[in-house]
């Protein structure tokens, strides 16, 4: 532990300023020079914030609880999932989002920043496929000078076909960088 007698230090400084006229002038110059020499390294700032706002979708199954007589939802891991985006012309987007991914119960999907509609084809267990359509409005959020602007979404409506899926539920409308589950897809 370092022990500094602040009172003595302060008194020394005080006496010095009061009694040593020329030396205090020298002192003030020396300190200024030292200051300038130590302070000229400016580092460039980089963005350390999350910039992706993704739609988080969870898969669930309804389980009948015989003791309470009610259905409760329980997380469902899908054996195999393939997810593609479909553009406004109905063409499948080249880059694939999930390619035969195993044992997933949650997926994250990018919503279209320049459109109010995002459509996805989800293929379950390499056999049955459903189309998920999300209607949304977009809004901008300024993060910082280093990170710039990001575009977030507000979910309006969600449509889904019922081949593998029974229903879909909107849990959270605001799709931003804040981690939250936005949609719940149910399968029985």
């Amino acid at each position: 532990m370092i022990f500094i007698n602040f009172k003595n230090l302060f008194n020394t400084l005080k006496n010095f300023l009061q009694n040593n006229f020329t030396k205090s002038t020298v002192f003030i110059w020396i300190t200024a020079v030292l200051f300038f020499s130590t302070s000229c390294n400016v580092s460039d700032e980089v963005c350390r914030k999350e910039k992706n706002s993704r739609l988080k979708v969870g898969f669930y199954t309804a389980v009948f609880n015989s003791s309470t007589g009610k259905y409760t939802s329980s997380s469902l891991a899908i054996d195999s999932l393939t997810v593609n985006g479909v553009d406004s012309l109905g063409n499948i987007v080249d880059s694939i989002l999930y390619n035969n991914s195993k044992n997933l119960s949650v997926i994250k999907l990018p919503l279209n920043k320049f459109s109010n509609e995002s459509k996805f084809i989800i293929r379950f267990n390499d056999s049955i496929q459903d189309t998920l359509t999300v209607f949304h409005t977009n809004y901008d959020q300024y993060l910082s000078f280093e990170c710039g602007m990001i575009r977030n979404h507000l979910i309006d409506t969600v449509l889904i076909t019922n081949h593998f899926v029974d229903s879909v539920k909107i849990e959270e409308h605001n799709v931003s960088t804040i981690d939250a589950e936005h949609l719940q897809i149910f399968h029985n």
């Binding site: 230090l9 300190t31 300038f36």
Partner: protein, 234 residues
Amino acid sequence: MFQPSMQNIYRYFIISLFVAVAVNFSTAQNKTPASAKSPEVKWWNGFLVKMDVASPVITGFSDTEHFGMEWSVQFNLKRKIFPVYEIGFGGADKLSSNEVRFNTNGIFQRIGIDFGLLKQSNDKELINNMLTGGVRLGWSNFSYDLTNLSLSDDYWGGSQTLNFEGQSATKTWYEIIVGIQVQVYKNFYLGWNIRNRHFFKEDTSGNITPWYIPGYGKTGSSNTGFNYTIGYHF
């Protein structure tokens, strides 16, 4: 207003103290005892007009992204209380690593008060060196541009560039200051001070906030600045 990092400020402050102590110990101490009775100190002791040389010097020697000039008037009441008025202009032109450009300039003002922390010595000859501590209330009304903000969609495709020009803002803040000032020749004074600045209110997240505020510096919940002043006493 020149913006050193906190680490450098501390380093600098410690070095300054060591230099002060070292220089002082190397000199023989021949103090004259203070006279028992002190003369009555007048209320009005003139005023000091000061100019900050730290920012123009730094701006001139290195291509920093911000610039500024400031002047102040410090009134001397009872050699102990120093009301201060500061005025200046400042600005910035900065390009971020992702090519976003921020541009501003504006005038700022500060009012405040400094207190002499040294007990006045009662020597026949008054030496006008002082160690002061004080506070400031600062405000600035300025406009700024934030341009070339890009948005792109890597998956679905598409991109857009956003420009926000002529945004105006008024900001207020407070500062806590410690400074040293010495009389170098007749009415000429040299001094420096370190100031820690804080906002009264934080910005709402998501707003297009300015990167730099004239008179405050880089936007952040707090920041540290430094002035090196040349003054003339009237």
